[in-house]
């Protein structure tokens, strides 16, 4: 029974999160620097270049890496503080087994015991209930090498179909939409295209807080006179300077896009040559938009019709334009629809395959892009291949030196794995760098599911909230401890270099997987001396797939400071911009328009739950906060979740700024301070999701998923809000005492 062995307080006392405030030895340690390692930040999909300073196997500081072309030394506060996650007091140093009588609820055991137990439980569960009753879930902040290895490990060592990755909670709707419309799952543009655009349309992305370096690309476009359109329920920091703000109601984006397409057609702001030569199915998309007038969309979206017309005019009459979209439109039960409707606007106006043109998704997680290419999605094999396609299976089986029949078929996506655990058909779980208790929707349900597991093993470097439910914990490796590659949001493969070795008995993640495979008797498929060999195999396995890494080498990636895939052969220069000349990645070279009729979200507001809830990130925290909630400066910046609401809503409910409010959905209730600001729609509240337990925004969110991408609807839920008590105002200007920063 996978239950946390002790109370939350006892677990926190032993495993944290505790705050790391200063580098090893303290701020004044004045340590000699042994070496400086060029690597990348791990806290978002931009993967900024950074130099880590190392003293005696500890990361003790950083230096901006001015020569890395993407960020030229720039970093957000997470990047500045990322070095403090090393040498952290909460770091897991030994394998552990649940033991309620031990202090902290876990006792240290040897690697031999730990691995022996994991393997015998895998075998027991699979013998008793079948192979697929043991599932695996993996994080997508891992390197490409690890993502690839996990895909192979789950299929050939665990023999399970039920492997999925936590990009399922992040960018999978964009992936499905891009594949359907463009034939390939990658942002079509390098970021260097952004400054070349005459109009930049940011749809459902709080770029300043989630992809901060991208602001400088947008400012560069603005410097050239580009117009900026921001579509969001909040006046996010970037919106402040927008030419046009589209204050869309959560869950209504496809209505807005439909009305823009309608207006483009009505005014003939179309690129007919492009549509005729490079696309199919325009008529279907146009027919679906025929009745989507701006007045109709204004009713649904809350965006005044005149602003919708203006958006269409700006987009339709500009020679170049880039649309950047992110989780705001993607994390919905119609995320794929929204992405397809956005792409329709790019295709209709010929804004693809040219400098300064494109409709690009922003991948949020560290290796969100690479992580979805190498086969640790339930439906994919390396190279972005389809696991159900016999030819694709055969190609990969050849590289894996196995029989095609040994590769299991399509498994369950992440949310469905959690549901299958809850209803009892999945009995065992191995997870790596995955914290569903905080990151999955409807956290109370997720907790119940984890409780029902017969066996749960976790590979991680800190004991996450989910890890507290584990039977066996295997201490893995931090980003700065392993070598490999990662692929940034713009599709650039970059090199991650190891700065230090894992402390204590912690091991490199890939070595742990190799050892388990060996003990499961499948070692012959997992003979690697280092991650370089894994990379070389990954490249071979991707050959001929859409995400083709064939011609990439670690040496080239380092020398060229990144390489854009596809790199289909040795000597190929890489492909920064896809679809040049209007050639799309479908077999006929043409892009597909899609008819996108509007449909409502899974849950809409009513008399009992009259307020829309939307969720998202703050700049100082990353995902489930397993890492960032342990770094003092980042925690001080935004210590706890706040519920952003408009003064009109606050006044109607008798709530003052800073008051405690109880927010209730059909799934759960949380209490947190109100943050009364005029920068959010009056009918909507916003809560960031990085915190666990009683503060978890995901207690409120709904498990409804997009039918095609299986992405949960994190961005739309209906809630009720009540005043719960007094509190201190939150919007006072901060007291910037010099010592605050060092607290």
């Amino acid at each position: 029974m996978a239950r946390p062995p002790l109370s939350d307080d006892e677990l926190i006392a032993r495993f944290g999160p505790h705050l790391n405030e200063a580098p090893p030895g303290g701020w004044d340690a004045g340590l000699e620097i042994d070496r400086v390692v060029e690597t990348h930040c791990c806290f978002c999909g931009q993967q900024c270049g950074i130099k880590l300073k190392v003293h005696d196997n500890e990361v003790v500081g950083f230096e901006p890496w001015y020569d890395f072309p993407f960020n030229e030394g720039k970093l957000c506060p997470k990047g500045v503080k990322r070095y403090l996650q090393g040498s952290h007091p909460d770091r897991l140093l030994h394998p552990m087994e649940r033991d309620p009588s031990a202090p902290g609820g876990f006792r240290e055991i040897s690697w031999d015991q730990a691995l022996g137990r994991v393997v015998s439980e895998i075998q027991r569960i699979q013998e008793e209930y079948g192979d697929d009753a043991f599932a695996m879930l993996s994080g997508v902040s891992l390197t490409n090498e690890k993502s690839y290895l996990i895909g192979k490990f789950a299929r050939l060592a665990l023999h399970t179909a039920n492997l999925d990755y936590n990009g399922r909670f992040c960018m999978v709707s964009a992936g499905v939409g891009n594949k359907l419309a463009l034939g390939i799952d990658r942002a079509p543009n390098p970021w260097s295209d952004i400054p070349l655009a005459d109009v930049v349309w940011v749809a459902g992305s709080n770029i300043a807080e989630t992809f901060p370096i991208t602001t400088s690309y947008i400012w560069r476009a603005r410097d050239r006179g580009a117009k900026l359109i921001v579509q969001d329920p909040r006046v996010v920091p970037l919106a402040r300077t927008a030419d046009l703000f589209l204050p869309v109601r959560p869950g209504s984006d496809s209505a807005l896009f439909g009305a823009v397409l309608h207006t483009l057609i009505r005014n003939d702001w179309l690129d007919h040559d492009f549509i005729d030569a490079h696309t199919v199915d325009f008529d279907e998309a146009a027919a679906a938009a025929a009745d989507m007038t701006p007045a109709w969309a204004a009713e649904i979206t809350g965006v005044p019709a005149a602003r919708i017309e203006e958006a269409a005019e700006l987009w339709g009459t500009s020679a170049t334009g880039m649309m950047l979209h992110a989780r705001g439109i993607e994390q919905q039960s119609k995320g794929v629809d929204n992405v397809l409707a956005a792409i329709n606007l790019g295709l209709a106006t010929g804004k693809f395959g040219k400098p300064g043109c494109g409709v690009s998704t922003i991948t949020g997680q560290g290796n969100g892009q690479g992580g979805r290419e190498h086969g640790h999605k339930c439906d994919q094999l390396p190279g972005n291949r389809d696991i159900s396609n016999p030819d694709h299976r055969a190609a990969v089986a050849k590289v894996w030196e196995c029989d095609e029949s040994e590769i299991p078929g399509k498994g369950l996506p992440a949310e469905a794995i959690i549901e299958a655990i809850h209803e009892g058909s999945i009995k065992g779980l191995l997870s790596i760098c995955f914290n569903p208790l905080v990151s999955a929707p409807d956290s109370n349900f997720t907790a119940e599911a984890l409780d029902k597991l017969e066996f749960y093993a976790v590979i991680d470097f800190f004991l996450s909230e989910s890890g507290q439910h584990a039977d066996v914990v295997l201490p893995g490796s931090l980003h700065e401890e392993d070598e490999g590659t990662s692929t940034s949001g713009e599709g650039r493969i970059i090199k991650i270099n190891a700065a230090v070795e894992p402390p204590g008995e912690a091991r490199l993640d890939w070595q742990i997987l190799l050892e388990i495979a060996e003990r499961l008797g499948r070692g012959e498929h997992f003979q690697y001396d280092d991650t370089h060999q894994i990379f070389e195999e990954l490249c071979r396995a991707s050959s001929g797939g859409t995400a083709d890494y064939t011609g990439a080498t670690w040496e080239r990636i380092e020398a060229e400071k990144g390489l854009f895939w596809p790199v289909p052969e040795v000597g190929h220069p890489g492909t920064p911009r896809l679809h040049e000349g209007g050639r799309f990645s479908h077999p006929d070279g043409k892009a597909r328009f899609h008819a996108v009729p509007f449909r409502e979200s899974a849950e809409v507001v009513d008399d009992d739950y009259p307020v829309w809830l939307t969720t998202g990130r703050v700049v100082s925290q990353y995902l489930s906060g397993t890492q960032t909630r342990r770094i003092a400066g980042l925690v001080a910046q935004y210590p706890e979740p706040l519920c952003e609401m408009h003064p009109r809503l606050a006044e109607r409910l008798g709530i003052g700024d800073g008051d405690q409010v109880t927010v209730t959905s059909r799934r759960g209730t949380i209490t947190l301070p109100a943050h009364v600001v005029t920068t959010i729609r009056p009918d909507t509240v916003f809560i960031p999701y990085h915190w666990p337990g009683a503060k978890a925004a995901n207690q409120l969110t709904i498990r409804a998923v997009d039918p095609r991408s299986k992405m949960p609807e994190f961005k739309v839920a209906a809630v009720r809000i009540e005043r719960a008590g007094e509190g201190a105002p939150t919007t006072d200007q901060r007291d910037f005492d010099l010592h605050e920063g060092s607290a």
Partner: protein, 219 residues
């Protein structure tokens, strides 16, 4: 790509463009990493009026040509380098009277009780003296804080650089430049200035009436 490092003849300038600031506090975090005052941030990020806007403003010492802070210092503790960088109060001289804190027209210096001394931004002397950008300007994701030559600035960005300020009757000339749309070379009249109307006055179109649903059932 801009040069990593500037030589002595390049005369780079420190530039602030508040309109670009996204409030991320990377500058505040990075300032703590600077060698001379590690662990302590000497830059401030002000939230102008969070109830109404996300506008934030980073504030570094402007390094005035004729610094008011030094003028009012009874202990003569505030010194200027040859390059015009105004330093934090000298530890042995500073008597902690906070005259500088009150007198600085930009509200920059802070009295730090723990060390009984006034401390403020010294433009990363350790970095700038070697030709590197200050830490805050190195990391700033939006280039709201920027370091480079005036020629580079004008080659890559619009806006006028202004280093003249008018505080009532006090005229101040600073080493650090502010970016403004265009005031014909300055000075910036800090206490004057006219407001302009934009969509920001009514971001959600509430005055247009059609989608204010918060008055009754919010739908």
């Amino acid at each position: 790509m801009r040069p990593t490092r500037y030589g002595v003849d390049d005369t780079p300038v420190f530039v602030i463009d508040q309109s670009r600031c996204i409030g991320c506090e990377a500058c505040v975090s990075a300032c703590m990493e600077c060698g001379t005052h590690r662990g302590q941030s000497l830059i401030h990020l002000e939230r102008i009026d969070r109830a109404a806007s996300t506008q934030t403003a980073p504030m570094v010492c402007m390094h005035c040509e004729d610094p008011t802070c030094a003028q009012v210092c009874p202990a003569d503790a505030i010194k200027q380098t040859e390059g015009g960088v105004v330093q934090s109060a000298l530890k042995p001289r500073c008597i902690g009277c906070s005259n500088c804190v009150l007198a600085c027209p930009f509200g920059v210096p802070k009295y730090v009780a723990e060390v009984d001394q006034m401390m403020k931004c010294d433009m990363c002397t350790d970095r700038t003296s070697e030709g590197y950008a200050p830490m805050c300007a190195s990391v700033c994701p939006s280039e709201a804080l920027w370091y480079g030559t005036v020629e580079e600035f004008h080659a890559t960005r619009p806006g006028a650089l202004v280093d003249n300020w008018l505080f009532g009757r006090q005229s101040v000339h600073t080493k650090v430049h502010a970016v403004v749309d265009d005031v014909g070379g300055g000075p910036i009249d800090v206490l004057g200035g006219a407001a302009t109307g934009t969509w920001l006055d009514d971001p959600f179109g509430l005055d247009e009436g059609m989608h204010d649903r918060s008055g009754g059932v919010v739908r």
